[in-house]
Amino acid sequence: MKRKGRTIKKLLPLYIMALPGLLYLFINNYLPLSGLVVAFKNFDYAKGIYHSDWIGFKNFEFLFKNSAAVVITRNTILYNLAFIAINTVTGIVVAILLNEVTSRKALKFYQTVILLPYLFSMIIISYLVFSFLSTDVGFLNKSILEPLGKAPVSWYNEAKYWPAILPVVNTWKSFGFQAIIFYASVISIDQSYYEAAQLDGAGKLQQIFYITLSFLKPVVIMMTLLAVGKIFYSDFGLFYQVTQNSGAIFSTTNTIDTYVYRALTQMGDVGMAAAAGVYQSAVGFLLVLAVNMAVRKISPENALF
């Protein structure tokens, strides 16, 4: 007992090192958890979170009676599924292509360029998208549709185009990132497998199919499962900034995250915003647990907890 006390005293500086981080995470990440109760209250700014009146599940009733609940859930899930599929395929293809490049300089060049979009904020990406889609001065309307003799399109007011636009934007931003992750696995494959396959007369495509892809399988499964665990969350910037918060296209651009933000700041409905947030967190958490169980079955050493 006494000895333990002494060790702790001796290790006190290490606890002091941990303190700022512990304190920060406690305030920023744990303290707000208690505020989740606001979803079950009739929030009144004057009374604050803890003194507002309880109203049970009323906020949730309002939320799910609203047709928006279905739309935001559908949009969030479908976009995520599309993003997962596209990112996985492009990521694998690009990783395999990078693996064929032997020149170090060329390799560095490609890696730098394909990672560049990942560095930009969604605000900057909104500008890039705007330069293509602006109704009056956009590249698509002025330099492509006009010369073809077609009428200009009011992109930010036409909901039907966004299920195509958003995946393109998302792919532009993140395929390089995904590719670099897969590439790290590809280069760790022992070269002797390829040499043996060559001796057996296997062509390039066969080598890719039988060796590269089978070695990539665990990483791909892991990354996919992690993404599935986050399927109830969307990139707020992509759906709010890139769409310029345009009301005319909400039917194809509104997700749970943008809905929560608008309910909080534009409709001023704190209770409903909180209810949507709790719905997202609860389902999201269950999904993470489910995914973790799945990972545990497939490859226990990769399980999150």
């Binding site: 981080g21 532009w172 947030g277």
Partner: protein
């Protein structure tokens, strides 16, 4: 013949990768070219890769009328430098403490960190806490503190993993035999051999701050506290705001007439990405390492 056949996959790879590189670069090029185009030409024929007429007017206008922009730039630089220095220090200290296996309570603290990656209170309770309890609305704190840019679980675990693998126990012990305390050991012995992880984490935090617009969107309503990203955010939706804030006078309509509005916006956006493009090639290696280790370790 045989040799050419052997080169085919490499040639194909180069061709496809060049196309992808173009796909990445073209939108950025369009932005830059737009900022260097003549405003009237863009007004007539749109943003184009081959503008009929080049012009530096947008940048001239920025330099002469750009007080608001300089201010926003200053705020972004201040927040990025301060936030990155503090965040890097706290993250490295925390990660190092967690890497010391003899530390009692280490497992609990690890889980405490890890849980923040799985679950959080979400926008509403966090917003209400920061606004009503901590009153950070319209203060510089709002740009520095919320949303885990300063310290996040991912970076802490990244740092911990690095220290566990690369700082030999014996080195720490020998430092202590020489009579140095934990802090001197950390700063004089551990930090100097941990430059790769410091570069990686510093880069991730720095990019996070430079690009952040979310904190400003939620907590800043006064334009004088806008970061560059928040300023850009505002003027994309509201060009009047730009003319008013720049000319500073009431006669926004006449200022609008004089100002190359369509190209100035693009010029401001370019100033937001140039720092990233300039430093990135030097740090690309650290960045790639950070994301691969992080993604695979979860």
């Amino acid at each position: 013949m045989k040799k050419r056949k052997g080169n085919m996959p490499a040639v194909t790879a180069h061709v496809l990768l060049m196309i992808l590189a173009l796909f990445c670069v073209l939108p950025i090029a369009l932005l830059m070219i737009s900022s260097l185009s003549d405003n009237d030409t863009v007004f007539r024929s749109g943003y184009s890769f081959l503008p009929g007429k080049w012009s530096l007017d947008a940048y001239k206008y920025l330099i002469t009328q750009g007080e608001t922009i300089f201010r926003a730039y200053g705020i972004s630089i201040f927040v990025t430098v301060t936030g990155t220095a503090a965040g890097l220090l706290f993250t490295a200290l925390f990660g190092y403490a967690l890497s010391r296996r003899e530390l009692p309570g280490r497992r609990v603290m690890n889980f405490f960190v890890f849980f923040t990656l799985l679950f959080n209170g979400g926008m509403v309770p966090t917003y209400l806490m920061y606004v009503n309890t901590f009153h950070i609305k319209n203060t510089l704190w709002a740009l520095l503190i919320p949303t885990n840019i300063l310290i996040n679980g991912f970076n802490i675990l990244l740092a911990r993993t690095f220290f566990e693998a690369n700082v030999p126990r014996e080195l720490i012990e020998s430092g202590k035999i020489d009579g140095a305390g934990e802090f001197p050991v950390f700063f004089r012995i551990v930090m100097p051999i941990s430059k790769p992880i410091l570069a990686t984490v510093g880069l991730l935090i720095g990019i996070g701050y430079w690009n952040d617009w979310y904190n400003g969107l939620l907590y800043i309503t006064q334009p004088k506290l806008f970061s560059l990203q928040n300023y850009l955010n505002r003027i994309l939706l509201d060009i009047q705001f730009m003319t008013q804030s720049m000319s500073g006078n009431v006669d926004a309509a006449s200022a609008l007439a004089k100002m190359p509005t369509i190209t100035v916006r693009m010029a401001i956006a370019v100033t937001g990405i140039v720092p990233l493009i300039v430093i990135f090639p030097f740090f690309q290696k650290y960045f790639a390492r950070g994301i691969t280790v992080g993604a695979i370790k979860g």
